[in-house]
Amino acid sequence: MLLAPDGRPTAAGTAHLPPGEELLRGLAGMVAARRFNDQAGALVRQGRLAVYPSSHGQEACQVAAAQVLDGGDWLFPTYRDTAAAVARGVDPVEVLGLLKGDWHSGYDPYERRVAPLTTPLATQLPHAVGVAHAARLRGESTVVLALCGDGATSEGDFHEALNFAAVFRAPVVFFVQNNQYAISVPLARQTVAPSLAHKGVGYGIPGEQVDGNDLAALLDVLSGAVARARAGEGPQLVEGRTYRIQAHTNADDATRYRPDDEVAAWVAKDPLVRLEAYLRAEGILDDARAAAFADAAEQVARRTRDGINHDVVPDPDDLFRYVYAEPTPQLVEQLALVHDELGRDESSQDEPSRAEAHR
């Protein structure tokens, strides 16, 4: 911890605090991330998104994960890491594509080097290792930052990915956002290890725990891990201790499994409040700058709202178009059947298809 919850630097903090401009950039990102989270939540309530797993309370982790990477690096997010993808520059509407329901993934992973949001837990971690290893084989300086949650550390793919990364010395930073719950199941049911960072020991890689609500500490620890990976020193495990302030998704009821006072205690450790207090106390942030951050966040919210409220009529042909590079003869036949059903073939101009008649 570099900054205490009230924003004052800790004894260890002063020597490691990132430059003020970095912290300001981080604060701007967090303000935008929180506004984005709130906006996405509202869009679910308005029926515009199917569901939204919010990272409210985890904004420091989300923003730091993006901020420590260079343009040539890769980010591997989970379904809860939409704000991290936005922080990396992916269009917020495209980020929410999965949740809007038009398609399974809304953005081009190669454009910003952000892998698709991954829903099955920990399964993206071995992909991250493969991407990193391929880059290393070609002598590129790419680093991959792979995100997962505390629950995912129980999955076999977490183990296999860390082990592969260690054995091949792949330039990967595994960043676990320990938000204390896997839907309803508390960390105590995932592990009895002293910490998730301890798991690095078993793979022979460094494991470091960091206050996940302290953006300054996150930037310090994660950028160090990224630099070591880039220098060829291999992978690292970082555990950010944070808290999922809201329920797993809007479909979840968190009051069934955790007490209000526990939530309140974490709300008091809010990552935005902490950093803002520090930056104001140091005179790095003034009202005008704060207002500019809020305005920029509002722009993200507006862009999100407008984009999600814009209805795109999904094309059934797309269901067949991307299964293979070239559709199989069977898919060509099946698509013709769909066309027939939807009354789009020539004969249906005279006579409505059965599907149309029953609509």
Partner: protein
């Protein structure tokens, strides 16, 4: 047909696969071979023999013993410009990788609207007939064939093993390459070089015949050929279709063959219920009904776990069982 074969050699299936890997690696530095024991040992079936010595341990890679990790690692490699060929040491050892195969390898192109294709090959030594212990003889093709987004091929001879593997490695899509273990040591003439036609998705008529059509793939093709030979001695002319490719399925060749004889028997080692053989029988019945003189018959493994070595002969489609099925094709009505 774009055949640029440069030479013919007599090779075993295992040697033909080895040569295909070698030639693909020599041609394209992005081709990597990964798996358990594929390095200096050359694989438990010696299929990757010499590849590490020739191309180095960065190109033919012994991995940790973790199949999900291998498959997931290959996804990342393929996302980032490589063409990984991964070996699952045995059919039943591939199951830990199943989530990666079904949820990511098969779906990545579709998930990303074609932006992220995964040109990777999953080699699986598969099926029985080699006296293998439990977990070494599964016919797992139906699991893969049932998963949209995968191509699934099964060669029945060394020449197809070479050309289909070259096609698989060149494919922009993931291919499950099923290697019939009992044919590893079978020898045949192999046309080498960049030979990719007929490619994935094409069945061939292995033997001409006029009375009935035997439809088989992979390890069942030699059984079908033997049955046709035996039937010829009994005065019955059986045609044999070798699918080569399960997905995509070559309806055109299969239907033309069945329509020419009016009778069909589908042969496969896998348990018959909800199997590839069932799918073929259904397709042939739907598409060739008016040409059929008898219901399509299936000769498959029974719906039991694969037997121990001393009982596997009970499970495998034998020549006798194939000929019994042929005898059942309502010849009295002919």
């Amino acid at each position: 047909m774009t055949t640029t074969a440069v030479a013919h050699e007599t090779l075993s299936t295992a040697q033909a696969i080895n040569r295909a890997l070698h030639d693909a690696m020599a041609e394209d530095p992005a081709v990597l071979v990964l798996g358990e024991d594929v390095g200096p040992l050359g694989g438990v079936f010696r299929v990757t023999d010499g590849l590490t010595a020739t191309f180095g341990e960065d190109r033919c890679v012994d991995t940790p013993l973790a199949e999900a990790g291998i498959a997931g690692f290959a996804v990342g490699l393929a996302m980032n410009g490589m063409r990984p060929v991964i070996e699952m040491q045995f059919d039943a050892f591939a199951y830990p990788a199943f989530e990666q195969v079904v949820s990511h390898i098969a779906k990545m192109r579709n998930r990303t609207r074609g932006r992220v294709g995964l040109p990777l090959v999953i080699r699986v030594p598969y099926a029985g007939g080699v006296g293998g212990v439990e977990h070494h003889c599964d016919s797992s093709e139906s699991y893969y064939a049932h998963t949209p987004g995968l191509h699934v091929v099964a060669p029945s001879n060394p020449s197809d093993a070479y050309s289909l593997l070259r096609s698989a490695i060149a494919s922009p899509d993931p291919v499950v390459f099923l290697e019939p273990k009992k044919l590893y040591w079978a020898k045949g003439e192999v046309a080498l070089g960049e030979r990719r036609e007929p490619g994935i998705g094409t069945a061939v008529v292995r033997r001409q015949g006029t009375d009935a059509t035997l439809i088989a793939y992979g390890p069942s093709v030699p059984a079908a050929m033997e049955a046709a030979e035996e039937a010829a001695r009994e005065g019955r002319s059986l045609q044999v279709v070798d699918l080569r490719s399960i997905v995509p399925f070559d309806d055109a060749t299969v239907c033309a063959a069945v329509e020419s004889t009016g009778r069909a028997v589908v042969i496969a080692e896998a348990a018959g219920f909800a199997s590839v053989a069932s799918e073929i029988a259904a397709r042939v019945s739907e598409r060739c009904f008016h040409s059929l003189s008898a219901p399509v018959r299936r000769v498959t493994g029974f719906d039991i776990p694969y037997p121990p070595p001393k009982l596997e002969h009970v499970q495998l489609p034998s020549v006798a069982r194939i000929l019994d099925a042929v005898d059942d094709l309502q010849w009295e009505d002919a």
